[in-house]
């Protein structure tokens, strides 16, 4: 399963939890999401690290990959949570 699919499923799960538990659970869901980032980063750095060479050969360093993908995913996460709390 790709990184994006995993992260997006977790984002949807977070939004569903917020919808069910209410805005009081925002802090809990926020830290849940941060913890899943830790798991994903650990998994990719240990089991998918060989694939970083593909992106390095294209001129994309590891740090750039992490910053861009995590920022995008976090933006989707926050946008979805704001949307759910406004409903």
């Amino acid at each position: 399963m790709s990184y994006f699919t995993t992260a997006f499923v977790l984002t949807l799960a977070s939004a569903y939890m917020l919808f069910k538990l209410g805005s009081g659970a925002f802090a809990l869901i926020f830290w849940f999401k941060i913890a899943t980032y830790g798991v994903i980063i650990y998994y990719i750095n240990n089991y998918k690290s060989k694939e970083f060479y593909y992106y390095q050969n294209l001129g994309i360093p590891k740090l750039t990959l992490w910053i861009s993908t995590l920022s995008f995913d976090f933006l989707v996460f926050i946008t979805l949570l704001i949307y759910v709390t406004s409903k």
């Binding site: 060989k50 694939e51 060479y53 390095q56 050969n57 294209l58 001129g59 360093p61």
Partner: protein, 218 residues
């Protein structure tokens, strides 16, 4: 134009174990530099140091006289084929060739067994075919230098012959640094041959020196 990659002053220790201590390597356009060494002698470490992925105690990596400590940020300067499969298996050949701006038609003309596999994902290819694609990508993508760690692994003799032919063509465009345990292929194709032993590189002039350096019995 001839470009030159020079490596020296490399010093690498893991704890109390000294891995590299007296290295000098030169690689230039039009030539293939071979690097031989027994397992654990630091060939892959040296390549990772040149690429910038491994930080040693000291190093000097120069491209045309200019120091470039993180060559992995400059694919126009240096491409690297690691000893393992590095292309994500989920990607299709179409996507990979597009990412590296390479013409798939030229590839399938040279290797007809890939005809009709344009849309195939890497995971559906055999180990040899995957390696061949990776070697081709690194050799053909525009760059001043390429380092290839075990390019002949998993390849059949016919594929090895084709890859050696491709290397001889591509060395006109870029300097190549290659290492592999199939040392006879490395000896055959190299213009300069270095042997890494005891943390030092030795530029060999005769195959008999490999025996003297303890690499093999010729």
């Amino acid at each position: 134009m001839i470009h030159k990659l020079e490596v020296d002053s490399v010093f690498l220790e893991f704890g109390e174990r000294r891995v590299l201590s007296d290295v000098y390597l030169k690689c230039e356009t039009g030539k293939i530099s071979g690097l031989l060494g027994r397992n654990g002698n630091g060939k892959t470490c040296l390549m990772n140091i040149i690429y910038g992925n491994l930080n040693p105690n000291s190093k000097s990596i120069r491209f045309d006289g200019l120091t470039v400590p993180t060559a992995y940020k400059r694919p126009d300067l240096l491409l690297y084929l690691p000893q393992f499969n590095f292309i994500p298996q989920i990607l299709s050949l179409k996507r990979v060739f597009s990412d590296f701006n390479l013409d798939f038609h030229e590839f399938e003309t040279r290797f007809p067994e890939f005809k009709s596999k344009h849309n195939s994902a890497l995971k559906n290819l055999s180990g040899g075919d995957r390696r061949l694609v990776e070697v081709y990508i690194v050799l053909k993508t525009k760059s001043k230098f390429a380092m290839l760690d075990e390019p002949f692994s998993h390849l059949s003799p016919i594929m090895i012959e084709a890859v050696m032919e491709l290397m001889n063509e591509e060395k006109k465009n870029k300097g190549l640094l290659i290492t592999d345990h199939m040392f006879r292929n490395i000896i055959d194709i190299s213009d300069n041959l270095y042997v890494l032993t005891g943390g030092k590189t030795h530029l060999t002039k005769a195959v008999e020196e490999l025996d003297f350096l303890g690499y093999t019995k010729v």
